[in-house]
């Protein structure tokens, strides 16, 4: 037997050209598979669109929930800033005494500022808010006590609760009301929502993997003969895998773009009623947008999910394909 090894992997390596040209060949194959996989998808536009739409829908739900939570968090931060205590003074306290208590509270530790609402002012506000001027005007005595709105230094619920306890001991104070309960409820809701969004994101991400994986599995199956032939004549697994990975990435990217479109469309669809609703509460509130970074994250995630789904499907199926 000749010692000159030609039919051997070492021979193959010696025979194959230098690494730079090998790199170019690799790059060339990547480029050609990028185009080839796109053309294959475009050749069956309806099927491709349906797959992408399935991916898009799976992405839209968690993304929309995430956006909603984001706006809830914004709202929450605003509310926290306006976390105040209302200190109701005893009924018999007159305006001068109320003023003195107000000054005392303002000097109290942990208090940022105070605002005194005298009994008369309180009545006026009440009448205005309820539009019951006539009915209330008929009352002989003003049943409302004077009150002081206290803005705490530290808006954290625990700190506010401690402040409320110490303010409750001040002379002339009847009751300290804090509106923390609903704030906390909102925070719990937000926490629940964000966990829900995370769970949904994981589930729907898995859904995207399955959609892409199944589509790629069918593609692999339909090109089985071709795969067997190229493996017979020396294609590596990476070579065989490449076009399918690109298909998966295309599906992911397409799905991501569609999801982005759906989200944009949806937020425009909802913008008008939301603004109107907010205006009726005297607030300006606009739906949060994805923004450039959010859009980038959405597209990158969807593309990676597509790639991963394709990788899993192809790897699983290549193991089962052996040239005959």
């Amino acid at each position: 037997m000749s010692r000159k090894a030609v039919a051997s992997p070492r021979g193959a390596r010696a025979q194959s050209t230098r690494s730079s040209s090998r790199f170019h060949a690799w790059l060339r194959h990547h480029r050609s598979m990028l185009g080839d996989s796109a053309r294959r998808l475009l050749r069956a536009p309806v099927g491709t669109l349906l797959t992408m739409l399935a991916i898009a829908i799976a992405l839209v739900l968690p993304a929309a929930l995430w956006l909603a939570l984001d706006s809830a968090r914004l709202l929450d931060a605003e509310l926290e800033e306006s976390a105040t205590l209302t200190v109701y003074l005893e009924q018999h306290i007159d305006e001068a005494q109320a003023g003195r208590i107000d000054e005392a509270l303002a000097a109290h530790a942990g208090v940022a500022r105070t605002r005194l609402i005298t009994a008369a002012e309180g009545m006026a506000e009440f009448q205005q808010a309820l539009g019951l001027a006539d009915a209330l005007g008929r009352l002989e005595d003003n049943p409302l006590p004077a009150s002081i709105v206290v803005v705490p230094d530290d808006p954290a619920p625990d700190a506010v609760r401690r402040l409320a306890d110490s303010l409750g001991g001040v002379n002339g104070v009847d009751e300290v009301r804090l509106d923390l309960a609903w704030l906390e409820r909102l925070r719990h809701l937000a926490e629940l929502g964000s966990r829900l969004a995370l769970a949904l994101a994981v589930l729907f991400g898995l859904g995207v993997l399955l959609v892409v994986g199944n589509t790629i599995r069918l593609a692999v199956e339909s090109r089985r003969q071709e795969i067997e032939v190229v493996m017979l004549i020396g294609a590596t697994h990476a070579f065989v895998r490449r076009p399918f990975l690109y298909s998966g990435a295309w599906y992911g990217l397409g799905g991501g773009l569609l999801a982005w479109g759906l989200l944009t469309l949806g937020s425009q669809w909802l913008a008008m009623p939301v603004t109107a609703l907010a205006a009726s509460y005297g607030a300006t509130f606009s739906l949060p947008q994805l923004g450039p970074s959010g859009s980038a994250i959405l597209l990158v995630c969807s593309t990676l999910l597509g790639l991963l789904g394709a990788w899993i499907a192809v790897s699983r199926h290549l193991a089962g394909i052996r040239p005959r």
Binding site: M1, A7, E226, V229, L232
Partner: protein
């Protein structure tokens, strides 16, 4: 070039497809492998192509024990062997040109090089004028010639063929065999499995006879 040392292949723990094979094929030889269907011709070729591994013994190709190749090296090994299949194994969704170019694309050859070598291979099998055609538009004999062009486009030092004339009439079969002889003349080692005894007898090359997985005859060229 090829050395079988006490090679056995057993399927399912019971059936011996090949048993105790010992033979050697020199570089530049042309060898026919013959026997009834089921005698083990295809199994033997599959061992050389590393589609199967022997259950016993060693197969050496070009001095290397191919049984010890790591699976990741197998594709690179296969690129060194040209294989012609009875059923051509052409890809029907691409032209003749691209079918023949496939081994070069797999190797990542330079595109300018590819065109030159594909045309040279097609010219050799007389199908240069059909390079744009799809396999389905060609006759069986022409498809087989495309298969041969694809097998030789890499300039392999070893060419294997499994019943390359299986479905062809005698004249076409003779033409195909003449092509293999041409490649052998320029130094390619050729091994052809065939049961067309009349044709083999006329061609006067070494013949390995198999029966039930055993080598029962090794006749040198007359």
């Amino acid at each position: 070039m090829i050395l079988f040392e006490r090679v056995g292949k057993r399927y399912g723990g019971r059936f011996d497809a090949l048993a105790n094979l010992d033979f050697r094929v020199q570089r530049g030889e042309m060898v026919f492998l013959t026997g009834h269907s089921g005698a083990g011709k295809s199994s033997l070729l599959r061992l050389i192509m590393l589609l199967e591994r022997p259950t016993r013994g060693r197969v050496l190709v070009a001095g290397h024990d191919i049984g010890r190749l790591h699976p990741s090296q197998v594709p690179f090994y296969r690129r060194q062997i040209g294989v012609v299949f009875q059923d051509h194994q052409l890809l029907h969704d691409r032209s003749i040109y691209h079918n023949v170019a496939l081994p070069l694309e797999i190797r990542g050859a330079d595109p300018r090089d590819v065109a030159r070598r594909v045309r040279a291979a097609l010219d050799k099998v007389g199908l240069l004028h059909r390079e744009k055609a799809l396999p389905i538009e060609l006759s069986g004999g022409e498809q087989q010639r495309v298969g041969i062009a694809r097998a030789v486009v890499n300039k392999p030092s070893l060419l294997l063929a499994d019943e390359p004339t299986g479905n062809l009439d005698p004249q076409l079969s003779a033409d195909i065999m003449a092509l293999f002889e041409d490649f052998n003349r320029i130094g390619t080692t050729v091994m052809i499995a065939s049961h067309d005894l009349a044709l083999i007898a006329r061609l006067r090359h070494r013949v390995l006879r198999l029966r039930e997985g055993r080598l029962i005859g090794d006749e040198d060229a007359a």
